[in-house]
Subunit: 147 residues, 2 copies
């Protein structure tokens, strides 16, 4: 299945149309997986549809399944690599209405636990990542997803 | 496909094992759809797996797809009924590690827009629902999902 063609609307002004949105770890043209630059949550990944679409129900069923499969692959990788206490998944997009899934490893000592990462901080100090995390995750995604 | 059997762990103390978690609009034994009691966001729905499972990757692929199909049905219903500016989807579960999807219609005049509903309020006053919303949504779910 190839990439989805973009609508014209809003693309020029959309942050996720004009920027990668993080360090790109994997991209097959349909969607990309990035390591977000979130200092409080250093393992925070995003799965971003490459085309400019707003809601999951704007996609065909097969496209939704394809996008969610990437979310689950990232969830599984983060669980295996980080032994996270919980994985948070969210597609919000109120500010950037271009489909992107937040995949966030959560730890009891992270700045917002047990609250949502968008809420008030409970403490300072990010839960540290193991050395070489981005490189290892990139390799793991390539092995799992085949590129 | 029948309901998933529960593990023993944590069930007795889990809020979503012992309570419905809102006004139940639909339930097929596998999962239920509830209208949450969230005063700031009166159209806030939740799709709750009936079995006690923590992460999406704890489910089989067919179970994940079945659960997400319910999320998309609710998303579509909320879009049609409320003309929401955005639908927010999230599976967090840091406090209640029992799979439940928040499906939240968002409006420019709602208390948190454009922020996440878990963040600071930008204003007071919920976006009102049309009269008979719960009843109409219940009927719509029954028509779409067949019970």
């Amino acid at each position: 299945m190839s990439a989805i063609a973009n609508d014209n609307a809003s693309v020029a002004s959309c942050a996720l149309c004009v920027q990668a949105g993080g360090e790109v770890l994997w991209d097959d043209g349909f969607a990309r997986i990035v390591l977000a630059d979130e200092a409080d949550h250093p393992g925070f990944c995003r799965v971003i549809l490459n085309a400019h679409r707003k809601e999951m129900t704007d996609l065909a069923e097969v496209e939704r399944a394809r996008l969610m499969n990437l979310v689950y692959v990232v969830e599984r990788a983060l669980r295996e690599m980080l032994q996270a206490d919980k994985i948070n998944l969210a597609s919000l997009g109120n500010m950037v209405p271009h489909l992107h899934w937040h995949v966030i490893p959560r730890f009891p000592d992270d700045p917002h636990f047990p609250g949502a990462v968008w809420g008030p901080k409970a403490r300072e100090g990010a839960h540290p990542l193991p050395a070489g995390f981005a490189r290892t995750l990139r390799q793991k995604l390539a092995e799992t997803l085949g590129r």
